[in-house]
């Protein structure tokens, strides 16, 4: 890995054509993990032996003339809230410590069918609740670009694993920005596709109407390739969209000529000047490439935070009721079942998870339901209506992915509200179900990565990728400097 980053696209081509051995690819990445994992802590679990064995199987397939698939021999890191049969899956929570799921998530099955090699399970904010990967029962992950800073969250381990070159691609989950914000902070591509385009079967639920799995990668093409491998209808997920895999790779080169790129004139303030400056360069870049920049308004954008922090905890309080010490993981013994539930949950959940369970329970409780959860659902509709109106004028919208570059470890960990504000720009597309992605676009303060967020209407993921590809090509010509 020393000379140049090998992309998933290159690895898969080389392995499929017998140019490179999957076993060599895996060894190179395990060596990189040996070199840097001690300081980054991207993983809850590295699956070195399993990855070696799987890579050998892939090589055997190639030897006998069988095609292992789109992601042949590509090491992939999985966020540790995706079920892997017989392999510990913790959600970075004490309450699931040591639990081995009896089945694979659909994305895990699809990656295996595409010839990918799972190299480890990555750290996250406990149950995906957080924006810094500091809320983990197993300790924080550090940003590979600057170890004094957070990688973002909640999929911080998956973002860091790609940034540190432990794997060319990884999977995360995004409930309010948990893929796009860490992607921005770590300087990698991160995609939240259209809600329902990737199966949630086997993703341990946080907010079921918001959760969506998506990829991290160094390149837009690698993210597209990975998304093609994992997307498409799954009968095991009742919210799965009835259509085949997303068709992305073929359209990457279509460019943005004639596309209308929306600038949200009433976007909530809060982005720092360095982030704002890069966003302006992104608009200029797309204009130069033939796009038209149009002004749009999304008046309800700023209410997203409130709607989200009532709806997501409400759904979480219901989803996390299943962790009661009966069927999975951790139990604290007590004289009767109710005392056992209380003791197990009190001991097993961390502070932020308890905070959100209580907030959600309150928002749903008798007497407060209409005032909080009910109103939040109506605000959700307002936001969706505003975005629909904006998309009548623009094909895609551009915003910052994160208000700032990566902040220092400990900076926001004692102030939940300050942490929640990290998600200001990413939250609305979870509420609407529309796709969004963060593309690394140069650097800001302290030379740290800045991500530009591209938003698109539901099922227009390919158009979003076209714009992302143009921004990426611009950065390659800039030579990575800003």
């Amino acid at each position: 890995m020393s000379e140049q980053i090998q992309t998933a696209t290159q690895i898969a081509w080389n392995v499929r054509n017998g140019v490179t051995k999957a076993t060599d690819v895996v060894e190179a990445h395990l060596a990189q993990i040996d070199a840097r994992e001690g300081e980054v802590h991207a993983f809850n679990l590295v699956l070195a032996d399993e990855a070696r064995a799987r890579a050998a199987e892939i090589d055997d397939m190639v030897t006998v003339g069988r095609d292992p698939g789109l992601l042949a021999g590509v090491p992939v890191a999985l966020k540790d809230n995706m079920c892997t049969r017989g392999v510990p899956t913790t959600c970075s929570s004490k309450i699931l410590d040591g639990w081995k799921p009896p089945y694979d998530a659909t994305v895990v099955t699809r990656l295996a069918e595409a010839g990918a090699v799972t190299i480890g399970k990555t750290n996250l904010d406990e149950f995906a609740m957080g924006s810094s990967t500091e809320n983990s029962a197993f300790g924080p992950t550090y940003n590979p670009r600057d170890l004094s800073r957070v990688p973002g969250g909640s999929s911080g381990g998956s973002a860091a694993a790609v940034a540190a070159e432990f794997a060319p691609v990884s999977l995360g989950s995004d409930t309010g920005g948990s893929i796009r914000q860490p992607a921005a902070l770590c300087g990698v591509v991160g995609v939240k596709p259209t809600y329902g385009s990737v199966s949630r079967l086997g993703l341990i639920a946080f907010g079921s109407s918001l959760d969506q799995i998506g990829p991290f990668a160094h390149t837009v093409a690698d993210a597209a390739l990975t998304l093609e491998a994992i997307s498409g209808h799954d009968a095991g997920d009742s919210t799965s969209i009835q259509q085949g895999p997303l068709d992305l790779t073929r359209q990457l080169e279509f460019g943005v000529a004639g596309l209308r790129i929306g600038r949200i004139t009433d976007l909530p303030e809060g982005a720092s000047p360095d982030v704002q400056e890069r966003l302006e360069v992104a608009f200029d870049t797309l204009r130069s490439a033939g796009a038209e920049i149009v002004d749009v308004e999304v008046p309800a954008f700023g209410y997203g935070l409130t709607a989200y922090y009532l709806i997501a905890p409400a759904e979480a309080s219901s989803n996390l009721a299943r962790f009661d010490g009966v069927r999975f993981g951790h139990r604290v013994d007590a004289a009767d079942t109710n005392s056992m539930y209380m003791a197990t949950r009190t001991d097993g959940f961390g502070a932020e998870v308890k905070r959100r369970i209580m907030l959600g329970t309150y928002a749903l409780s008798a007497g407060y339901y209409d005032a909080y959860y009910g109103r939040a659902q109506k605000v959700r509709r307002l936001i969706a209506n505003d975005f629909a109106a904006a998309y009548a004028k623009a094909d895609v919208l551009l915003t910052p992915a994160s208000p700032t570059v990566a902040f220092e470890v400990g900076d926001k960990s004692s102030d939940p509200l300050a942490m929640y504000l990290c998600d200001t720009y990413t939250i609305p597309s979870n509420l609407t179900g529309d796709p969004g992605m963060s593309v690394p676009f140069g650097t800001g303060e302290h030379g740290l990565p800045v991500g530009v967020q591209i938003l698109a209407p539901a099922l227009k993921d390919p158009v979003m990728f076209q714009a992302a590809h143009v921004l990426e090509q611009h950065m390659q010509h800039e030579g990575g400097a800003s």
Partner: protein, 104 residues
């Protein structure tokens, strides 16, 4: 994060919520949670002024219809594997402490 007189939520309400959520809080945790939840609910008051009377609530993003399938047995999880992942299992079942003796 400290608001001396939380207006939106009281310690008694937080204690009730914790009990509903099957969580036990120490006195310190109860007061900290009251302050934190109070500050959040104050922040969330930004939607109070919106006129939402004629707005339909949105439950989830996609227009969903019921999904039906034939009522046939599909691939099931392996019972032993499921039970092996439980804290305590016995005779092919999950084992729990006595249920009688619930105190609320």
């Amino acid at each position: 994060m400290t608001s001396p007189e939380p207006t939106r939520i009281t310690p008694e309400a937080v204690a009730k919520v914790a009990s509903l959520a099957r969580l036990t809080l120490t006195d310190d945790e109860l007061h900290q949670a009251t302050d934190e939840l109070g500050a959040m609910l104050d922040h969330f008051a930004d939607i109070d002024a919106l006129d939402l009377d004629d707005v339909e609530p949105m439950m989830q993003p996609t227009p969903l219809a019921n999904v039906m399938r034939d009522d046939v047995v599909g691939v099931m999880l392996d019972r032993d594997e499921v039970l092996a992942a439980a804290p305590v299992a016995e005779d092919g079942r999950f084992r729990v402490p006595p249920i009688i003796g619930l105190d609320d």
